[in-house]
Symmetry: C2
Subunit: 143 residues, 2 copies
């Protein structure tokens, strides 16, 4: 039941872009240095986010990445599902229920866990994290 580094780094990465939302785009090496994560690893993480349309990339010199929507329009859930796969605790909730579903006793338990997690991640946006960031770190510039 752990979130992997991809999910965790991905959230931090997206928070960086959210904090920078009004300043154009940001290259990965800046974020990598600031967060102490390998730039190459960050590339792998942001790639699927770009493909999914959450971020926009600008290639070449002076390129970088930016959010493709307002922070308030990007939920933590959409980020985590791209990076972690489904957040449900068992596969059967995703792959369509198995043939024993109507007699399966634990099914509703897994379903409740899934709903509880979904409720949190689908109702937390990057804007919420930005507010949290400022509450904890003051209004200072990010970078």
């Amino acid at each position: 039941m752990k979130i992997s580094t991809k999910g965790r780094y991905g959230i931090r990465l997206m928070l960086s872009l959210a904090l920078n939302y009004n300043n154009g785009h940001l290259p990965l090496n800046v974020i990598a240095k600031e967060q102490g994560i390998s730039e190459k690893y960050l590339e792998q993480i942001i790639n699927p986010l770009t493909k999914a349309g959450l971020t926009t990339s600008f290639r070449g010199a002076q390129g970088g990445y930016s959010l493709s929507k307002e922070p308030s329009q990007i939920t933590v859930g959409s980020i985590l599902r791209i990076l972690e796969g489904s957040l449900s605790p068992v596969d059967c909730l995703d792959n369509g229920l198995c043939e024993k579903a109507n007699s399966c006793t634990s099914l509703s338990l897994w379903q409740k866990i899934k709903e509880a997690v979904d409720e949190v991640v689908d109702n937390t946006t990057l804007e919420d994290l930005v507010e949290e960031y400022h509450a904890k770190n003051g209004m200072n510039f990010y970078i």
Copy 2:
């Protein structure tokens, strides 16, 4: 964010013991056969549950296992935490917060996820699963 087979099999195993709660103890080979799980693997799963005091073992011929408390007194959370380790999505919530905790923006997100999961698993008991079992499978004997 997946529950492993140990957690899933463990829940099913404990449900079997709960369904059998008024009939004394049950040997693993019976449960293994019924659920199509290797008896040797079930041994590894029930062992920590016994050490944690959730189940009682009876060695030797005609031995077996039984719940050591009423099904209503055993939560799904207590079972899963023994078999899966902590259910929190990140390690820092268990190992004591790290030195960056007071500036960490994602911390409260992880905490909310943890609380949401805890809320479900700590308020679901084996008795609830027994009721669910009977609702789905009728009042027929279990074994």
